[in-house]
Amino acid sequence: MSTSPSSGFRGLGAGIRWRFFAWSGFVAALLIVFLFRVLPALKIETDILALLPSAQQDSAVDDALDDFAARLARKQLFLIGAPTPDVAKSAAAAFAEKLAASDAFSRIDFEIDADLQQSLAVYLQHRGFLLSSSDLDALQSGRTSALERRALRAAFTPASFVQPVGLADDPMGLLNAFLEQQKPFLGNARLDGTVLSITSADFTYVMVAAECAESPFASSLQERAMPAIERAKQAATAVATDVRILSSGALQHAAAATERATSEIATFGTLETIAVILLLWTILGALRPLLLASITLGIAALTALTVVHYLFGTVHILALVFGSSLIGGVIDYSIHFFADRFRDPKNWTPPAAVSHVGGAILLGLTTTLIGYVVLMLVPFPGLKQIAAFCAAGLAAGCGCVLCWYPVFAKAGRRLPTAGPRAGAAIDRFFAEWRWTRLRVAIGGLSLALALIGLQRVIIQDDIRALQSSPPELVAQEQAVRDLLGSGVETRFFLVTGESEQSVMNAERRLTRALDGLIDRKSLTSYQAITASVPSIEQQQAMHRAQAEHVYSRGGLLDRVLPTLGFPADAIERRRREFESAGEPITLEEWLKTPAAEAQRHLWLGKAGTNYAAVVALGGIRDVGSLREIDLPQVRLIDRVTATTEILGRYRSVMSWLLAGIYVVAGLVLTVRFGWRIAPRLLVPSALATAVTLGLFGWFGVPVNLFTLLALWLVLGLGIDYGIFIRHGQASKDEASRPTAILSVTLSACTTLLAFGTLSFSATPFIRSIGLTLLCAIMLSWVFVLFSCLTNANSSRQVESPS
């Protein structure tokens, strides 16, 4: 950039000078903003779900749900295993200590030191208002003999072993039964001294649970958390050599995805850059165009990052993937500009190039931008971001070419001849091409064959197939699941209502239905806050039932306690305590107590105008039976299925939109070029799209939303090629056509380099994009050349005799 504009600067037109200064000002401002405002705050998002729109309608509740999911995603579980419990415990202690030393984790659960009496206190205080559902039913229907029996069993047999409250505090077992029903499903984990452990055949695993300080999908957290985990692992294995460490949680998968994506972006980006530089240097034979093209690319990338940062707050890794491929799009403009020199190597000047190809570049940009603007209107955060990223990058790239190149570019002394010769050879090939009957037959047959493949297209919208983790991590995850003996469910129920009490009453109806599913073995367990704190209405019913059947004269109390030998005054004291029992327990009060610790996260609180709570599920055996539950204010949230549905829905919406864009682009081209020429520009892209899909059908490559995204790019690029060749053809200058062919060929090559490498990505959805473009761009290029360059008359000559 230090190169001062040539002495001819003053000789340039006022328009060019004005544009140059305006653009330079813009770039300077951009650089300052990027360096000082964007770069320090730049956040990379790696969660594929962040790209997707949420399936619900109520945005406040959506936000609460997102919070809930985000909180769950922050959990990370480690199992530290060793052949003996003691070694496992000390290794886990060393592990936990190292983790706690890092600021990446806000909470480490290792040793348990909870005082049980503290969490029981609130229930003891309000026990006059609390009953288990089956006890409530039994009391209300007067079936009290089973309850008497239970009390005797607790007093004389080891049945009381599994009861948290002692006989003196709960002689009737009513509070114990209430506490019993809120016990969660724990799988194989158990308390071993002060730690939780799981014993397998020859190993004992000690559990360490950690909570990330922020989203595990944020690259900033991963950078701190992963080294901390590595240090912790070293500390644990330093205790004994045969220590085994298993982990489970979103963090490791997210970190693996980030690592893979960044290394792929780096590798592919480097490969592409080298390849593009070699290609351009061979063709243009000078360093200056390369330097200019690289600077243009840099500015395009910075603009794109800055725009996305300000519009969305975070930059998604997928946008970066497209960004690495922006090379393809932006470099095209530079190529068109410099390749123009081959038109007239001796008398070429940069300003002349702008006036010659500027219009075509702008027209190409316009059609591409139309595509992206439509993409931005789709209510799909990921697409919006990709569209904004590409549109901003392309516009900035175009600005650089049109405003800077006339000043900075210089006609070099030497101009290699390889490029023009290649362009001329292609031109000659097509000029001499005759559509003989055989060629038409072969071409038509191949096309027909490829298009038959369309019927075999496999559609795959399953999110799990689109985002894969390294097999080693998946195996660890499975090992943890096997050891714990319980799967972790991602499905849950959401209960909403206009008031706290309305939510709690609705939740009560839901848990009744879920109890039925548990009886039918469709479900193993659920966790609901109303199991711990029933609605006021419910508590009052529980209080009434106790007043009428337990504490009334001649009630359960009077029948059971004398049998156990309680003296009259002890019985009266209990009756007085019950009668003076004040108020039902309120949700607000309960949430503040240690008793709520395990379930507090299930209460989402006030979201917008509504209140919401979550009912978590465990051991789902029959998803269908969950879907059948149809209750007001209750909704089954199934993120995986919902995401798959969304991907499917947007895939079909995008298909229609793409078809729509072809129509719009057709109209624009018809207005500009007339109805005879327009199809020649448009059909190649459309045909390339259809043939690509057909080939995918034959080769069993699944089609998904990301394939469609790639086809979106094909539309823009394919039309660009057509416009350029058409532009070259229309020029009076005979050298224009081979030059246009050359520049289109070059840009197809760079795009293939840029996107083709993505076909080797280990991430399935990125691979989808790569394969689609690899195939479709190659076809577009071939079809454009055939459609624009072969003589239509000759085909008519062939057709007419038949």
Binding site: A114, Q117, L152, R153, T157, F161, L191, T194
Partner: protein, 233 residues
């Protein structure tokens, strides 16, 4: 893998589980065990030294035992009740399988504790069934139970601080839970006997106790016909 909030459930549930032992511990002090009880907790020990000295013989004898049968008397002392709640019956312990606890008085009830869970039958009809898949607490109780009966000191040591003393030809083992969660409901336990475990006493924070006394203990290295059937679910 999103639901790792359940670690909190684990904590809470395991705390609840240990509270369960408090039900066994709500008793008044039986006078005769008083002195020995307090004294044993002045003699801290480790599992290894206990096995080398105090428990060497009974632990060795028990190590071969497959079946242990005895009569039991369970006395619960509650501060409000002048007389203890007394139950008696017999029990069968089968190594690696479980405990069959048959209460005869004041009413007939069978309690079977295995690694698979708890089954209770009152006068022949099933009254309670808790699977250990659903109720991991059961497995922990089963572990402690078995460790106690077989004097599996190394297992007990992971959960408890150990104390040991010899008195009048009897050994007395003192156990104090290591974690606050357990200690908040179950302050200490003593296990005593000669050749085999003869008495277990649980004491809670308030000083109330449950005393289980065993008599007519027989042990054998062979499993007689019919014993396994007792544990069928």
């Amino acid at each position: 893998m999103k639901s790792f909030a359940f670690i909190r459930f684990l904590v809470a549930a395991c705390a609840l589980l240990f509270a369960s032992i408090s039900a066994e511990a709500q008793t008044r002090k039986p006078p005769q065990a008083d002195v020995a009880d307090e004294a044993v907790f002045k003699q801290p020990s480790t599992g290894k030294s206990l096995l080398d000295t105090l428990l060497a013989e009974p632990a060795k004898a028990l190590s071969k035992t497959q079946v242990l049968q005895a009569r039991f008397t369970q006395k619960k002392y509650l501060s409000e009740i002048p007389q203890p709640l007394i139950a008696n019956g017999d029990f069968v312990f089968l190594r690696d399988v479980g405990v069959y606890w048959h209460t005869e008085k004041p009413f007939d009830s069978v309690f079977v504790l295995t690694q698979q869970g708890i089954l209770q039958r009152d006068e022949g009809s099933e009254a309670l069934r808790v699977s250990s898949d659903k109720q991991p607490a059961v497995r922990v109780i089963a572990d402690i139970f078995f460790a106690l009966f077989t004097l599996n000191v190394s297992k007990l040591e992971t959960d408890f601080e150990m104390f040991g003393q010899k008195q009048d030809g009897r050994w007395i083992l003192g156990l104090r839970p290591k974690s606050a969660a357990v200690a908040s409901v179950f302050k200490q336990a003593t296990v005593s006997g000669t050749a085999v475990v003869e008495q277990v006493v649980f004491t809670d924070k308030r000083g109330d106790r449950t005393v289980i006394e065993m008599s007519g203990v027989t042990q054998s290295a062979e499993v007689r016909a019919g014993i396994r059937e007792l544990f069928k679910r």
